[in-house]
Every structure is written in C-alpha cells, then in structure tokens.
Symmetry: D3
Subunit: 282 residues, 6 copies
C-alpha cells in the first residue's frame, strides 16, 4: 500500500500532548516505585481483533519521547490488514519507559486503527463498484490530520481537510446568495483558480441548476437510492456526484450501486470503535 507521509510535527505534537495528559507533573509513580531504573524488558504489541492498522508513527513517537533508549520494530504498519494475535510491534528497552508510554501508544493505535478498520469495512462493501469511500470534517477534535491518514490506511480517500481548502456550498449559503447560480458565481469570483467547488443539494429538482452552474462536484444529501439513481441518469457524467447521509456497512453497497462516484461517511471518523490492541511483556 502506498501512503503519503504524515507531517511529523503533527504526530509529535499530538503524542506530546497525550503524554502530558498521562504523566502529569509526578510521572509514572507506580513504575518508579516498583521497578528498578536499570531493568530492561522485551515486549510485543499485538492485535486482539482483526482489523486494519493505522497509527504506527504515533506508537514510535510515544516510546521515543518517553525514552529514546527503547527500540521499536514495526512488524505490521499503517495500512496492513491483520488478524487476531498478529504481532504489530516488537519492543526492547528500559522496562519503566515501556510501561510509562504503553497506554498513550495503545490509545493512538487503537483509535486510529479503529478508523482504518471501519473505513475498510465500507471499502470492502463497495468492491466492484466505481464508488470511492471518503471521510468528512466530522472528526475527533485535535486529531483530524491523523484520522484523515487513517482513512487512507483503510483504503478510503480524503474529502477537503477543512473550511479552508475547498468550497462546499450548502443550503444556507444558497439562501444567502439568492440561489445556486449566484452562490456559485460568488465563489468563483472571490476565490482563486486552484479551489474546487462542491454544491450540496437535497432535492432532485436542484440538480440541473447545480450542473449548469459549473460545480466541480455535487453532493446529494440524504437522498433515497432511487433519487440517487435518477441523479446519475440525469447527470450523464457531466460532473462528479457524491452521496452522503445514513451511510453504514449495511446501506453502503446499495448506495454504491446507484452509480454515484463518491460516498462520504462521518461514521468512520466520529463513531468507529477502537481496535483492540494490547502490549505484553515477553
């Protein structure tokens, strides 16, 4: 699997923040009291459920930030599909440091692998169709870049990263601008040539105007699959059609089969259960 680099300071900052939460001012008082400073251990991190891995960089950063003497080997990294019992990381180094970083490392790994696993479930469900699964801005506050990366690990793609990198014209914008056409024109006039414009519609009768406006993408929000199919027919591939609303592992196949190009899901980032992963001393 080919993945882009994660910006390293984003990972480092998020991990530093999490370690500050966990270590506080007094640090790992249990390990300091009970384990000699000189003790070393070997340990593994393994999957306790099957899933798709994301968050390897955060795992590496957590152990490195707590104690650079801890050596961590990646056995199954970002984007890999693993089954219950698979060893993901092998660790070797000061026992205290391994225990002090353990929870933060696992919290990142479990959370992000949960996102990747949920994404993969949707991706798998639409196999053979043309639909691409993408995420939304419904991400966990403070973890957007990491979750967007986890979506790629799961085989999905990214929608815009924020309010700043693409235009998404919704009902309130249309109302304020006086219609789809003027809203689109206003965006085109103000914004640079490097910005894509998507228009959200929730009724089929808006479709022709949206296509005519020149929108790069049209979002069919909360439409029935019947309406989606009609939209695909009307569109005749003139623009990109995206579907959103009520996207679950159960519904996604039917949505994909309507012929839409893109299916966006908030669930894969805001509600994916954590993947069960654990650390064991050897």
């Amino acid at each position: 699997m080919k993945l882009p680099r994660l910006v390293s300071h984003i990972v480092d900052d998020a991990v530093a923040r999490a370690l500050r939460e966990d270590l506080g001012d007094a640090g790992d008082i249990t390990s300091d009291a009970t384990i000699p400073a000189s003790a070393t251990s070997s340990a593994i991190i393994a999957a306790r459920k099957q899933g798709v891995i994301a968050g390897a960089n955060a795992v590496l950063a957590a152990f490195r930030q707590v104690d650079p003497a801890i050596k961590v080997a990646v056995n199954a990294g970002d984007g890999e599909r693993v089954k219950k019992g698979d060893v993901l990381f092998s660790l070797d180094g000061p026992s205290r440091g391994i225990l002090s970083a353990e929870r933060v490392a696992l919290n990142f790994l479990g959370h992000l692998s949960g996102v990747a696993t949920a994404t993969a479930a949707l991706v798998d469900a639409v196999t053979g169709t043309n639909a691409k699964i993408v995420c939304t801005r419904k991400t966990t506050p403070g973890l957007r870049a990491l979750e967007k990366h986890a979506v790629l690990c799961g085989g999905g793609r990214n929608h815009r990263f924020g309010l700043y990198d693409a235009v998404m014209i919704k009902d309130n914008h249309i109302a304020a601008a006086g219609g789809i056409m003027p809203a689109f024109a206003a965006a085109k006039t103000s914004l640079g040539h490097m910005v894509k414009v998507e228009i959200e519609i929730d009724r089929l009768d808006q479709l022709e105007e949206a296509i005519a406006s020149g929108a790069d993408i049209i979002l069919l929000d909360n439409m029935s699959t019947d309406d989606m199919k009609q939209a695909v027919d009307i569109n005749q591939a003139r623009t990109i059609l995206e579907a959103s609303g009520n996207v679950t592992v159960k519904t996604v196949r039917a949505i994909a089969e309507t012929g839409v190009d893109i299916i966006s899901s908030g669930w894969i980032t805001h509600s994916a259960p954590s993947l069960d992963v654990g650390l064991d001393f050897k």
Copy 2:
C-alpha cells in the same frame, strides 16, 4: 445534576486547536464568498437521537472564539437527558460566524455526548446494585479531561486521571518487585500519604495476599462472574473490589450483581459512538 467545573483553559485550548484544524490559514472560504458580512441569523442545535448531553462549554467556546457577537443560550446542558428533537442550544448572531464555528461545536458536542450517553447506558443497567461505573485511562488522545467530565455527565465516576495521581500495581510491577507484598511496600515507602494504591490481580488465589498487603482497592481483571462472587465473599468488605474486562451493556448487570463495588469500562471513552446532533437555521 451536580457537576464539578471544567478547567476553563482546557476547554479553551482544545477548542482553539480544533478551530485551527478547521479554519486553516484561509478560513471559511465558502461563507466569506457567499454570505454578506452583515447578515445575521437565528439557529438551534438539536438532538437527532436520544442521549445524555456533555460538551456545552466547548460549544460556547467555539462560537465565542469565532465571533463573540454570537449569542448562545443553553437549553439543555451537561448531564441532561434529552430525546430526539430536543433543542439543546439557541443561537443568534452573524451568519458567517455561526456557520464557521458549527462543525467544531458539533464535533465536540457529538463526541462528548456520545461518551455521556454510553456511560449512562451502563449506569442505567446497574440500577439497584451497589456498583459504580467508572472510566479508565483508555481515552482519546488530547481529550482526557473533557471525556472524564463527560463520564460524570453520564452518571459515572472517574478512576485515576493518569499515571501520576494514584498507584496501580499490575503484573509487571509485581514481577519486578518480587511479589504483591514487596510491590505494595515499595509504593508505600516511596510515595506520599496522599496517594491511593490499587493492586490488579487476575487469579483468585492472589486475593488474600492483596488484601493483606493493605491495598486501598483490588482490581479483579478479566475474571468470570463466578470468581468475582467468590472474591466478594472472601473479601468480606475489607477492601474495595473493582471489576474490569469485557464490560458491555449486556454483561454489566451480571457483573454488578456479583457484589463488586466498582466496574471500570474503557468502552465508554474509546468506542462510544458520537451522539447525532445538528444545527439548523430558523
């Protein structure tokens, strides 16, 4: 419901971080292009599913940080049980600002209310027993203080906040210290008189030694409910017994009925689905 204050700079910092993710350098380019600066609107935030609310402070902070001219009234705040359709917040002010802050506000509200709702589900399930539902350190990185508060909103209680504020002696600590007794003694010798000590055991035959050591709390990790019952009988209320492992809405009642004092769940913080909430212009 009586709730402690959330430390205000924790909320403010988390919200500022989330707004930076969403606004980037260019800001809300869609609203700026399509909505006049002078336009004002009224809007509501409502629940689209039933649940328990948490995160009101983050909602307030999000709108205030984007534009202090936005007035927000809290109709149903932290700890309140709401049903589908209930209005949670009423907003009034510049349209651009309301739209620019919307997603960040809803991301916090949905995530934290999801934690509160999941907690309440466990709390409800053990009604009539003596067991208290508590959270763990398995929290979303960067959001621990907020999620700990959401657990209180859902009627649960907090376990330790991090590695720093209480001792939890687990198998690796016991092994390194040479047994339960020496591990406990090491903690007592090193640490102040203000720190509680919990010992984790996973076999019944460790229980007497753990009680004898003087531990404030004993964690029964991944035991069967039969073993838990035996532990309760052996303990005779000499110390506090906590149960963990495989705690779900389905299993929690049986666990509580064993007579344990505390039931800790990672699920309520690491895997609670987001509560569906939405903002609509009036």
Copy 3:
C-alpha cells in the same frame, strides 16, 4: 471592496509575537520613564505615500494588546486606495500605550500595505485584459496568511496557500513519475476529488500532453511572450493557462496581452517595498 475575514487568531498571534520582540522583558523603558501613567493623547496614522491599505486588523490588535483602553477608529481600511497625507486611523487613549504599540502597528501596516500596493500596480497594469494577478508561495516566513490577504486587498487573487491544498507538478515530479501523464495519473489516484492539479511546463512541446492529461491548470514557466501566445492558441480554452517568471510592472501588460488567464508573481510578496506610514500626536 469585498474581502474575506482574516482568521482572527492568526492576526492575534502574529501581533503578539511582534510585540514580544519589541517589548522584551523590560518593556518600553523610555515611555515609562518620561511619560506619566495618567497622560492621554490623540494621534493619527497617516499615509506618507500613495498606496493601497492592508493590515488594519493588525493595527487594531497591536493597540488592543498593549492597552485595551486605546480607542482606534479606522478611517481607511483594508483595500482602500489612499494618497499621501490621508488619515488612516485615529487614536485616542493612554499616551504610553500608544507609543509602546506604535512601531509594531506601523511595521505591519507598512509591510502589508506594501504588498497590497505592489499587487495593485500589477492589477492596474493589466486592466482591460482577462488576466488575473495571483501571488505564490514566495512569502515572508511567518506572514503567509496576512500577505495572501494583502494580495486580495490589492485586487489580486490567491494561488494555493501551501503544499497541502493543491497539486503543482513540476519538472522533478514529472521526472520521478516517468512523464507528465503518469505524474498526473498518480496525483489523481492518490488524492481526493476536491484537489485541483496544475502542471508546470517550460517548453511548448509539452503543452498538448499536459492538456491531454486532464490538468486543471497549466503553468507556462519562464516562457517568452511569443511562446505564451502560441500556447494560448494551441489551448483553445481547453484548460486554464498561467504564466510565471520575470513578472514586473513593466513586463506584465505584454504577458497579459498574450491571452493567458493567470499571471503569478513572487515579487508582490517577497520584494514589495514597505508603504511609508507614520503616527503623529495631535
């Protein structure tokens, strides 16, 4: 002139940073030694050369951060064309605070108005053509968002904000990917449907392949105006053509008259002289 909002924390942070540079640990030791704490003054900030204003928000933030008791009225704000002697801001409040914030306020105002004025010079020079003037990533480190806004104040438009919000395929990318077609395909495969793709070419014989690849924009880098004209002819409006390289107030008209759609200039951000502005007590 209709301008988007500047993200407020970007302005606030940049101003705070500049004030820390200027005040250090000891503060404004001259004013504190010579001016009574209770003294108040009225002052104006005026243009000492003609130009276009940008940076009003930074001016407001500088005085507010030093002393919220200073009242500042904006007489000529962002995007306004002013002539020598025009009053831009009127101030009223504690004399010490006005003097302590003066230099930081003027440094922002002069620098950003310099960018706006340079931009306006190019924009004016291409009046009557279809060409749009846009800025590049050749900005002053730490001030990109402010300079991008100053470009809008001067009547220009923004190119991409950074490496993250649009694809720009240059010679090294083409070489690494094995040609224009595979480079474009790689970008399309990896990236979302919300990202525009520009391809930079420096020879006319690359043009057909670039158009055929499906690029949203093609950058003609450092071409002669003759070659640009040919490119426009070949293109037949199939894609957007952007020209860059050696863009000055003297050359820009000829470039625009070739029929290219976009002209990008690094000079307006990296080398625009500061606009002369000054503060005088009344």
Copy 4:
C-alpha cells in the same frame, strides 16, 4: 567575517512556523503522490544574482526539520559575497524531503540575503568615511532577530533590539517630560546604570541642550546634510551623532561625509528586495 551566534531556538522556531504554513495538515501532497519514498537526489542551491548571503542557519534548519536524513553542505555561508551562479549549498538525500523543504529554505535565504545585500550596498557606499550603517526597529514582524543578524552579515551594525534595551527619547517624550533636560533626567533616575540614552532632535537649536543633558547619543532626525555638518562642528566629538531619514544608496555617501558617526536605515530591513536564489536537482 566574524559573526556572533544566532540564538538557535529563534531560528528553529521561525523555521518550524514557516514549515507549518507550507505543509499544513496534509503535507506535500504533490511529492507524496508522484515521487517514491525511497528516491534520493542531489541538489544545489545557487545565487541567481550577486549579493551577500544571510540565513544559512535557517536553510539548515528547514531541511533538518523536514527530514534529518538530508545532508546539507554550506559552500557560501552568512556574510559571504557571492556572484550570480555561485553554489551556496549542496544537498543530498531523500527527494521528497528536499522538495518539501525547498520553498521554506529559499524564502528565508532570499529574504535575509536581501537584507544583507541592501546593507552591504550602504556600507560600500560609505567606504572611507567614519560612518557606521545601522538598522532600526522597522523590521518585518516576527523576524527581527534574524534580520538584525542579516544586517551584521552585510557589514552593518545593530541599533537597539527593541523598546527594552536602550532609551530613545523622541519628541513626544520630550513634550511629556517638559523638555530635553527633564526627559533625560527622568530616564537616568528610573533606569539602571547599564542603559544607554539617545535623544532625538530635529532642529539644530536643540543640539546644545541635548549634549549638555549628558545623552550618550544624539539622533539628528531628517536634517539636511548642511545641518548635519553644522551639528558635527558644534558637537566637537563630545557625544555620538546619528543621522536618520531619507537614507538611500544615493544619499548615504553625502550623509556620511558630513562627519556623523552613525547612519540608521529602515529601508535595509523593511524594503530590501529578496535576493534571487534557486534550488536545482543535479
């Protein structure tokens, strides 16, 4: 050339800030999509115009922060005079990292070398006179320490760094304190023995009083060269005389020949055009 150290965290922080501007949350999406992670390259950074170099530390920091595996050799560092085509830095390492850091590195190098080059132009123009060229507080917000260093690279000297490290009594201070004498006395009474005091005058008739006050330096603001000459005659080397106002490459020689000790220029920091530098793969 002998140069002081730049405080390393100032360089590191400024570079980190610039990289955050350029990489955003998604990073260098073009290079990640088109260039294999394993590709390595050699490259050079060369001058495309003659000038004086400043900013080598920022160049090193930019590549190191993006990828420590990139090796950078300095061929012509801070303070060196270079001609068009001279190689300044040689790079070797991961292609993606070189491309991702390129723009930030060049933005610092071009900007700071522009300041050094402008300074050198003034310094060269006064060769053979006693006048020293110094900078002012009219610096680019956020880059003061780096620009002050660039002035040294160009052969100039630094004036005070901010409001905090020396006293500069201007007209408003004089008015508030009730005259030059009382203003100086107030400064001497309040401030420590380690602080120098400069008094700004704009009329020759203020000179004797300023000298008599005991000022360490007297600033002749916007005076004609005739008045400057008279001031030099009157002063008889009793104190240091500094000239400011309308200092350009064309005027500076005449100012220096009046016999003033110091000539301060805002232009070298606020309006110096960027030095043209570029990176090429070998």
Copy 5:
C-alpha cells in the same frame, strides 16, 4: 538514594524558558565578541557551601540546549550530600557555550539544591522519630514539579501536587458544606474511589468528628505541641495525623516528638535560601 524519574519535558521546558530569559534575541553578546568560536575549555561546577544536591537534570539540559557539543559528567547528582569544595559536575566543550549556559544552569542548581538542603535540615532534625517531612503547595510559580522533586532529594516526601489530585477540606469548605461530616460526605459522593481525603482542623474538639467522618488524614493546623500530643493520644492510630504551622529547624523536633505522623512545611519550598554553587574554568 532511590529517586523517581523527573518527567523530561517538564525539565526541558523550564530550562528552555530560562534560557530565553537570559539569551533574549541578541544572545550572549559578550562571549561572542571576545571569545573565538573555536575555543574550547574544561570547567567544573563545585559547591561553595555544604548541602544536598538537586537539579542535575536541569544542569544537563541547560548545557545541552545551548550547545550539544558540551560534555557534562555528573560527579555528585540529585540527593547527594556534599561539602564545601566538592566537585558536582565536570564540563568540557566550546567555551562560548559553557559561558552562555552557565548562569541558567547555576540558577536551577542553586535554587533546587537550596530546597533539598532545607528539606534535609528538617529531616535530620526529626531523626529517630516517626515523623515524615512533607512539602506543600506553597511552591515557586512555574517550578512546582522540580521543587517537589528537590524535596525528595532532601529526604522528604510529597504532599498532594495540586488542587486536583487529593481532597483537602479546610474551614471554608466545612462552613459551606455545613460541618465536617457533610463536607466529607460530599467529597466521597462526588469523587472517585482513587482520591484521598484530608480534613484540616484547628481545634482539638473537632478531632473526634473528623476521625468519625472517615478522613484518610487529619491536618492539625497551627496547634500547640501540647494539643498535638493530645490529638495523638485521642487518635489511637485510627487515622494519619499531620501537623503544620510554624515549622522551623528549631521547632520541628518538638513537633515530631508529639507523635504526629506527618509534618508539612511551606518554608522548604518558598523560602529556602539558594545553595551557593559556582563554575570555574580549569
């Protein structure tokens, strides 16, 4: 002596802050002007008075942050008792860097060793009794974690770290809650099972109620030693008794001999004189 780890980012951040105070924007201008960049030196840091050492990590961080080329060997580290003239650290490396970091390193070392030395004086004075010496929240702002560690170096123990990690019910809380019993009950009801509760009383007649409430610790505030003795007799070891108020090297023995378990002192953190330490070039 067995000491817990200090959280490394706390040390690093505190040292970075102190270096920023000392180096400002211009750096160590004296050393840069007078000492060649290539000069290297050997130096030692020695005690100029007898005492107990704390702060070795801060010393190491100060030299490393200024110049990683400086090698520092620890001859007498945290918790060691030293006499006048003892060598504490040996340094070797660039002369400029050693001088630039010297004052910050010594400021930490002197301050924290002062805390450790004061603590040791109290600890020594109670030798042979059961009393433990503990610190309070009366710490120097910004240095709490470091001072708490210095107390351990001096042989003392830590009380709670802040308002967040243990309950301390004082007169105002008792008054607001309507008595000792209801205040304790309120704390027990709201707070988790991992939090200890201390009740402060200032009259003997409050003791029985405080014990009966179930408090983990009772603080006898500003009581006479006679009252303390009575309190010990009444308590019969049912709970832990802590004494505070007017604890000095002279009074502490008598307090300890009353039989109280814990003696808390603000003086060891807020008023301990700095230990005299100095750096000399060899």
Copy 6:
C-alpha cells in the same frame, strides 16, 4: 512610588502556567465537591509580617483567569510598605473561584514581596550614601522579569536583564581575548553604539587598565572594603564603580561607605524569604 509598567503578557503567561500546575486536569476537586456553584464570599488578603509589596498584577491576573466574576480591589499595591495586619486586597465574588485561585495568587505575592522586602532592607541600610542597590542575573528561573520589577518595588534598580542587553567582561573573556584592553576593543568593534560595557576585575592592579580601556562601568568583585576605598580614590569619578560579593544586610553599609556607586546583590532575588501573606474570608 513611580514604577514602570510590567509587560502584561509576561504576567499573564506566568500566572497561567502556575494555575495549570495547581489545577491540573481535574481542577479544584475539594471546592467543587463541597461548595455550591452559586455561593459568593468576601475575603481579604493581608500581610502577616511587615514588608514591601510586589506582585499585585499577578494577584489580579490569578483571580481574573480563574473567574472574571471575582472583583479585586487593591488596597496596598506594588511598592507600598506595609505592616503586619495591613489589608492588601479585598475580594468579592464566587466562593469557589476565590478558593481555587488563592494559592497561586499568594505564591506570587509572597515570593515577589519577599524580593521587594529584601531589596528594601539593603536600600534602607545604605540610606544617606550615594550607593544604589541593584539586582543581578541570579534570579529564579522563569520569573526574571517579575523579580526585576519586585526589585524596583523595593527601591532598588536593575542591572542588565540578560546576556543580551549589555556587555559584562569577566575573567574568562579577558583571558580569551588576551587582556582587558583587547577584550574591550573586541566588544566595541562588534557591538553597536547602544550597548554599555562593564569590566569585572578582582584585583586593584587591574583598575587603571580597566579605566583606560574606556569601560562604562567597572565591577569590583569580592574585594575587601579597604580595596574598594582605594579603588574609589584611584578612580576619581572617571567611571562608575560597582561592588559585588558577600553583600548582606550586615555588610552593605560598610560597602556603601567606601564610596562605590553601585552595589549588586544576588541574595535579594535568589534567597529572599517569602513574605507571609494570607487570605481570609470575611
């Protein structure tokens, strides 16, 4: 007493840091559990020993940051001499907030007033002489600007703020530069005209050379009062003489009577005992 402004963000940042230390993630758990959110109180902060006040701004910031609803009136502010029992501040507002901010406010007030009081003791002891009492760089890490201000509150003056704002040539610099004269010349050549130069000598036979070099100030380090007297005689007021070393309340008068101009003391910042201050509810 006339005092300069303290830079407000320095106070705000230091207070925010201290509040984070004290509130942690869970906040003031005692007050939240025992005191109703709606309860309000009046309280005073009073001196429990006589002394000189410093730190009023930090007190105001602490209560404001915890709860802006708390009203604080300053009865005796920075620079005021107070006696035991004097009311310094009157507070009115939410009880919880007052208690949550109390310790941080008192820690600043006690520490900084301790510095002011110690300074005043030295200042008082030299009354009638010409000597000025100044502080050094031997300050508490992280609090330098606040302590420098406290010295002014106590009637002292400030020496240089850091390594960056004045030159202090010591033995190692002299040795490296090859003597006093070359060291001074090196400083003069490298540094601007706005920087003062002090030379430290520890033997009388160095004095003439130091004066001849042109030094602005000469520091007599650890000399006997007899040597100081001789130095004053030799100097004949040609330069400023500063004395340092073994400066205590007992020794300072004799040092002042030697006729030196300046006496610098590290003790007033690094070892001043905290002034006893307390908060009581009315």
